[in-house]
């Protein structure tokens, strides 16, 4: 079974994001970029399925500028077999990403596409589900456990009330939640080996997909600031403030 893993390069999760002074977006110049944490979990899961003998090949795909090669090399160092970069200078919306991934799926014919449930920049949580609908596939979103047997993936999902288990017919879409696995660190020999693994580049224009934006971002602003709080010294003082000042208990 071939697995395709989609990955996105985003501002690193530990960076405190700053809104640009002209309110057109957030500062990205000289900001540390990394693989989206949910995508790392997706890569790890694909590699584990290969190590278990369930998957035969793991292909990492990313859409973006030349720097996305770095994230793909990371995926290769973590255990992906080869990588595909669909080159695009423009930031694509999730619908466009899903359409591009669909063309890659049609070419590569994987039986499973693993994606992060959301990227920590746009926080959209859309791409996997959109790809599922465009392909006419079933989906196991927000997965915390995946088991493959008999042409099906049994997926345990983190839902608002607890956990739900679905049996999804392959080929299928799986999107990862935080507790699916703990991604490994790439070892130095594997990082060196990754440099020699195949990384193909495709120009987005050659795919014949309409990726024109459907939305316009009018402004990006700072969230309203909270008024400065105070420190209390004792439990009694805290209870008094909650009762008589904030009036919430």
């Amino acid at each position: 079974m071939k697995i395709l893993v989609a990955i996105k390069r985003v501002i690193d999760a530990n960076v405190k994001v700053r809104v640009k002074a002209d309110n057109t977006g957030v500062e990205t110049a000289n900001v540390k970029m990394s693989m989206n944490p949910f995508c790392e979990i997706a890569v790890e899961e694909a590699v584990r399925l290969k190590e278990k003998g369930v998957a035969s090949e793991v292909i990492a795909v990313s859409i973006g500028n030349q720097q996305c090669q770095e994230s793909l090399r990371t995926a290769l160092a973590l255990g992906a077999d080869r990588a595909i970069l669909v080159k695009s200078e423009d930031e694509l919306e999730p619908l466009a990403v899903a359409k591009v991934l669909k063309t890659v799926v049609e070419k590569e014919q994987p039986e499973m596409v693993l994606l992060g449930k959301q990227s920590i920049d746009g926080d959209n949580n859309q791409t996997g589900q959109m790809l599922g609908a465009l392909l006419g596939w079933g989906q196991g979103t927000f997965a915390s456990k995946v088991e493959v047997a008999d042409g099906k993936a049994q997926v345990t999902r983190e839902i608002d009330g607890g956990l739900q288990t679905l049996s999804v017919k392959l080929p299928a879409i799986i999107t990862t939640d935080l507790r699916l696995n703990e991604p490994r660190f790439a070892s130095l020999p594997n990082i060196m080996k990754a440099k020699r693994k195949p990384l193909d580049e495709l120009a987005i224009a050659d795919l014949g997909v309409d990726v024109a934006p459907r939305t316009e971002t009018l402004t990006v602003e700072n969230p309203p600031a909270r008024k400065e709080g105070i420190k209390v010294e004792t439990v009694a003082e805290l209870v008094d403030k909650l009762k008589n000042e904030a009036k919430v208990i």
Binding site: L95, A96, Q118, D123, D160, L163, V232, L242, I249
Partner: protein, 309 residues
Amino acid sequence: MATLIIAEHNNSELQPATFNTIAAAKHLDGDTVVLVAGHDCKSVADEAAKAEGVDKVLLAEAEHYAHLLAEDLDKLVVEQAESFTHILAPATTFGKNIAPRIAALLDVQQISDIIAIESDDTFKRPVYAGNAIATVKSNDGKKVITVRATAFDALSHEGGSASVESIGTTEHGALVDYVGEELTESERPELTSAKVIVSGGRGMGNGENFAMLEQLADKLGAAVGASRAAVDAGFVPNDYQVGQTGKIVAPELYIAVGISGAIQHLAGMKDSKVIVAINKDEEAPIFQVADYGLVADLFKVVPELIESL
């Protein structure tokens, strides 16, 4: 102009976020229609018909809709879509699972997790874990939207008298079979709609110590939440998690105990009206958003707090 709301329910009653989604729809022009798709769920349709702000209820009943699977409901919604300019779902795990499928089938770029409606095509939504607020204009003919429940106060559950119309159903796609669920049973209020939340982090040390927070919660009629660190460590189940990728909450009072305050956690709770932080590390970032901070050993002061309430 008309808005279709995809109701989240358990075949016996509506989930609270559906009412917040109805409230959001009232900021849009035209009628508000609620789609109740499920199995043996007429009582849910009747409940929706009574809700303030609802003009009409569509009821689609079929055995394969029982678990509200996205692969079956998406086609049903798409069949109904022609009559509507806006399709809304709550930004819960239910809505997040299904709405993008509907958007893709309609060739629409969805707008996720909106917190304000500026006009029929312009919406505000948080990005980067709530560290920035984007105002986004959709140029698609139809809008597919998920709504952050805490940003819209629910209208009354009573007082409406909408009609209920049964509609045709779609066939079972058979892509997915439901296996089972393990839902957390609790007598306490539901986290996302609770007025008071007591939340614990890694500082709690282990799962047994959460009993202390439960006692405090019971004194306050509160729900119990947790940070990702506490869930990852196995102290409490996943559905306790408050944060960027867990639950978004905005209670009247949020008491963070032994939580350092990573930006991903703050994203889920910083719209709470009053925030209390109890942590022995006075440098903990949680104090930057707290209205009242108590630098102390939680194992000493939480029992004191329980005692004094």
